[in-house]
């Protein structure tokens, strides 16, 4: 799976990923002479691909990164959601390849083997496949249709989702969205009210490339097929209270629904 981000510091690096979910201050967060990580679950950054949302803290952090390089303990590469001055400066002066502009650190798992190309901004997560799917928000009277997936479902068992399914060969995303709605709800969706850029969601060794759609209906009754075990019309603001599939918030946000 290749993700295209933005090049910040040139060079190429490959290694096992360490993924942090919080912003990182190199000053206090990493020991410059040893590479020891002093936050999250610990570990050592030497030779690893360090993935975190963004830098924070003291500007001295740039020099901690340089200290790592001096001691041969620097990460193989750095990946951020959005680069800021401290980490970008540290990466450039220490010749550590760095890429930002990836959608979310949640696409990575600690232990993934990741290749970073700081010249082009591309990031390869090895052993992870991409699967293309659609997910449709069907909205009626300010409420969105959520379907309950059976516990036996391979993908996101037992979770609430919107009307979703894989895009089949030769099918456009919109055709897939309409087909899934007909199959799973037996409703007639009508015209597409909105779409958005695809959203990436990690599940095990799969990254779902989700194509969001919005359909607005004024009537129609849901008749489930066996793919789901229940449904509810849920006020858009209440979706957060449901145990949903990953990325639902991103999809709703991309369609300006929350």
């Amino acid at each position: 799976m290749t993700i295209v981000g933005r090049s910040i510091s040139p060079g190429k690096g490959r290694g096992e990923a360490i993924v942090l979910n919080e912003p990182l201050s190199f000053l206090g967060g990493v020991e410059g002479s040893t590479g020891e990580l002093k936050v999250a679950d610990g570990g050592n950054v030497a030779g690893k691909v360090l993935v975190f949302p963004k830098g924070k803290g003291s500007t001295v952090g740039s020099f901690v990164m340089y200290d790592l390089m001096v001691h041969g303990k620097q990460p193989a590469a750095v990946i951020n959601e959005s680069a800021e001055t401290i980490v970008a400066t540290g990466a450039v002066i220490s010749s550590i390849p760095m890429v930002d502009g990836i959608q979310s650190v949640s696409l990575f798992r600690t232990g993934d083997i990741v290749e970073v190309d700081g010249d082009t901004g591309s990031v390869e997560i090895t052993g992870v496949r991409v699967r293309r799917a659609v997910t449709s928000a069907i909205v009626r009277d300010g409420k969105v249709l959520l379907l309950k997936r059976p516990d036996t479902e391979r993908s996101f068992p037992g979770k609430w989702s919107m009307v979703s399914g894989s895009i089949e060969d030769g099918e456009s995303p919109e055709e897939a969205a309409v087909r899934e709605i007909r199959e799973e709800t037996s409703m007639e969706p009508g015209p597409v009210a909105a779409t958005a850029e695809q959203i990436l969601v990690r599940e095990g060794d799969v990254i779902w490339e989700l194509h969001p759609f919005l359909f607005r209906l004024s009537s129609g009754d849901v008749k489930l097929n066996p793919e789901n075990v229940g449904y509810e019309w849920v006020p858009v603001g209440d979706v957060g209270g449901y145990d949903t599939v990953d990325g639902m918030d991103l999809v709703l946000g991309s369609l300006d629904l929350c």
Binding site: R6, S62, F63, V64, E84, T85, T89
Partner: protein
């Protein structure tokens, strides 16, 4: 980002690895902040000079830069370091620290940077002109030149400013552009006009707005007041530019329609004072953050004339530049009855935590940083009130 052919050639290494690295850094930062290209600068001011703050990583970085032949291509000055380069023993500095610190100063000098080691280069050797594009680090100094002089700089970090100084260029974004220099909030100020009241005003505004570009009404700062205001707002918030009605050069072109007005008066100044004062008892009093100007040296010397330091347990440091210290020998003699007049340094970047736990200052900026950077409990009062502690 659009680079010229020459800039591209530097980026691919045709002018050597040192300039290539500098170009990589300037373009990386430009990319992050959405610059469309680079812009020529007329000067630079560099931070990252104290061994205490940059450590061995920073020292090695500078050694490698010098070994790679790095040279600045525009007039550049250096921020304060961790000690007075001659009188460091009076500051309880260890031999080890002094050796490393002197090495850092030499390395900056080897790159062609004037090692003035002051945070107020604009009253001395490095004074930009209106409209100049510059690359300055040191939050108080860059806010002063943006605001009081009308030069243009972003908040550069140490390595970024050094890279810009080497290239003579920085990324053209943020405060280099007219569109980003517009006032974002109006401050209706009610203060007594003393330098200390400007320090508290800056603290209160920094606390109230965080970031943004304030437009002040009802104040009339001169250099010393503008310096205190800039320093406090940059420390309490991250303000890098302000306008003052009838005073600063870009104030008259501001459009204030639709802007929120915040009143800062007695109550807000009292809140700021309470925020900064966390002890009534100090071991060190340090005055000169940012560095004392010649006028402030005269004022302090005349205030101290005829007075005696009774409490010998409390040390007093006055901080300024070597140039100004040399220029005021009589003031220095008067002041040194109370404590050393130090050059090149200040209480924030010196390793005072090895010798003191409680420090008094007249600077809101210092009082913000003393707890975090120096593990001190801070007292923040005007100079007369500070001196009462020892008289």
């Amino acid at each position: 980002m659009q680079l010229t052919r020459e800039e591209e050639s530097i980026l691919v290494g045709e002018q050597g690895p040192g300039r290539q690295k500098a170009m990589e850094l300037v373009t990386a930062l430009g990319k992050i902040y959405g610059a469309e290209g680079l812009i020529d600068i007329t000067s630079a001011h560099l931070s990252g000079a104290s061994y205490k703050t940059i450590g061995d990583g920073g020292l090695k970085y500078l050694e490698d830069m010098v070994a790679g032949g790095a040279k600045v291509s525009v007039p550049s000055t250096l921020n304060p370091v961790g000690m007075d380069r001659k009188r460091w023993k009076e500051m309880h500095i260890s031999e080890h620290f002094a050796e490393k610190q002197l090495r850092i100063i030499d390395l900056y000098g080897a790159m062609g940077i004037r090692t003035t080691c002051s945070c107020t280069p604009y009253v001395g050797p490095n004074r930009p002109s209106f409209g100049d594009h510059v690359a300055w680090a040191e939050s108080s100094a860059l806010s002063f030149v943006n605001s009081y002089i009308g030069a243009r700089t972003n908040r550069e970090g140490g390595p970024g400013a050094l890279a810009a100084a080497i290239l003579g260029k920085t990324a053209n974004y943020g405060l280099h552009l007219d569109v980003n220099r517009k006032a974002t909030v109006v401050i209706d100020a009610d203060i007594d006009g003393s330098v200390f009241s400007y320090s508290l005003l800056g603290q209160a505004v920094g606390m109230a707005i965080g970031h943004g570009i304030p437009y002040f009404k009802n104040i009339h700062p001169e250099v010393e007041e503008a310096k205190a205001l800039a320093a406090a707002m940059a420390a309490a918030g991250s303000v890098a530019l302000y306008h003052v009605e009838g005073v600063t050069p870009e104030a008259s072109s501001q459009d204030l329609s639709g802007l929120e007005t915040i009143h800062i008066g007695k109550k807000e100044l009292e809140d700021a004072y309470a925020h900064l004062n966390r002890t009534d008892d100090v071991q060190l009093i340090s005055i000169g953050c940012p560095h004392l100007t010649e006028k402030e040296m005269h004022q302090i010397a005349s205030f101290l004339k005829g007075k005696e330091k009774i409490n010998k347990d409390v040390e007093i440091w006055f901080c300024t530049s070597a140039e100004i210290r040399d220029r005021c020998p009589e003031d220095v003699r008067e002041m040194e009855r109370f404590g050393p007049v130090l050059a090149d340094t200040c209480m924030v970047v010196a390793p005072i935590e090895g010798s003191f736990q409680r420090t008094g200052t007249n600077s809101a900026k210092a009082a913000n940083y003393l707890p975090t950077l120096c593990s001190q409990k801070a007292m923040c009062r005007d100079i007369a009130a500070l001196m009462e502690v020892v008289m």
